[in-house]
Symmetry: D2
Subunit: 139 residues, 4 copies
């Protein structure tokens, strides 16, 4: 399957990313960028994006990046995720850029940089490292 429609299909089929209006910005084998716009359901009490929104977008981008690097018929599912929050995610959107740094037949590792789009420009608000298992894709 072509990687762009594959990532768009998974993102649209996933309630978490569909209901939060996540857009697929870029896809290449081993690298995926996703953007989530600001919406009430994804915010912290102080008006910044919630840690769960940021971690969820990073997780989804890492899974998509690793899946596009795997052979057809295999998908990547997260085994563990570590995220460091560097700055408040206070912009109009957050963007997660994931890329694989290791792709094995059973295990992949991806790093993710998350920016928030503020005035006058984007700010890195979080970085994550994700370990993923490669499994057979569901039918």
């Amino acid at each position: 399957m072509d990687p762009v429609p594959q990532v768009e299909a998974i993102t649209a089929a996933t309630g978490f990313t569909r209901d939060s209006a996540v857009d697929v910005l870029a896809v290449e084998p081993g690298a995926v960028s996703l953007r989530m716009p600001r919406s009430a359901a994804m915010l912290q009490f102080n008006g910044h994006f919630h840690g769960g929104a940021i971690a969820g977008l990073a997780d989804h981008a890492a899974g998509a990046a690793a899946t596009t690097a795997l052979p057809a018929g295999r998908i990547a599912v997260t085994a563990d995720l570590t995220i460091h929050f560097l700055k408040p995610a206070s912009g109009a959107s957050i963007t997660a850029r994931a890329r694989t740094v290791s792709v094995g037949s059973l295990l992949c590792i991806a790093t993710v940089e998350v920016t928030t789009e503020c005035e006058p420009g984007p700010v890195v608000c979080a970085i994550a490292t994700v370990t993923l298992r490669a499994v057979a894709a569901p039918a």
Copy 2:
């Protein structure tokens, strides 16, 4: 402020937890349990809870647990979070039980166990460790 209404107020004031109908199950100093019911906006494409939902609930519970262990006027904000996904979160709800393992004047560490409520009983689906900064509460 009494810790129970404090955690309930923060959870209700936070879009991420309010819109996903998170309930406060239990609060004591340094320990908070929160439950999130199944809803489409919190699911993965395969019908399990999304990693972002699980990480977000764990993050919120850790922040609440650490805040209840701090002196009045201080709140805990997440510096970093590591989460390991042990089993699919396929039940009717997920519950995050957070407790502090270290409380300092500037830094707290909390561990979180997340279960999913299945038949015939709850299953541990994730464990997390969270490092939090103690900061002055907003007015």
Copy 3:
């Protein structure tokens, strides 16, 4: 192979644990305890155990615990490790107690508690979570 001599053999065959005089305290399937005595080569400039000594002992204990939980002919090697340092490791020794929380045919997850033996009693100085791959044991 009986798990006790297996863990003792690996610990003796490993320069890092042999040269730092690590003792095997207890072994059961999925749970291993190892102790490292204080020695100059394992200390920080302030006389506490170095983070590398603590992380290395935790890593070794997690690998041993996961290996004892796997079928014969398989060993566990670390994919990633997260460690939180709670207190200075200032005692006469450090002890790592690892236990598996998930054992799959390809991936295991173990948690580790590290104590340091002080007067009047042991103190938890670090906690770790380790993801390990199960691979064929070398001949």
Copy 4:
């Protein structure tokens, strides 16, 4: 204090790095590179560098990088460390290159890339992210 002699002094005063013959390769504010040569006490049973050696070198480099970015009289001590092992560390040495990605008055975050020097060239064998507390330097 000039950052180069400061890092050299701390590395020489620390048993873990002194006894394993760690060299300071480069120092600038917020970035430190350290190299550890192969020696029996730092190896795994299979002849690769042990996870504790790799994590310890990464931890030390991160602490040095953060300390050089802090005001005089402050040093950085590790709160938590996450490390992902990408390849066997089978070369003649390992080199950790740490740089700060966030420097606050109380908390710093650094990323570390660890290479191992093989034929025909260095290979990235691990990546780490480290959260550090800034504290008053001991007298």
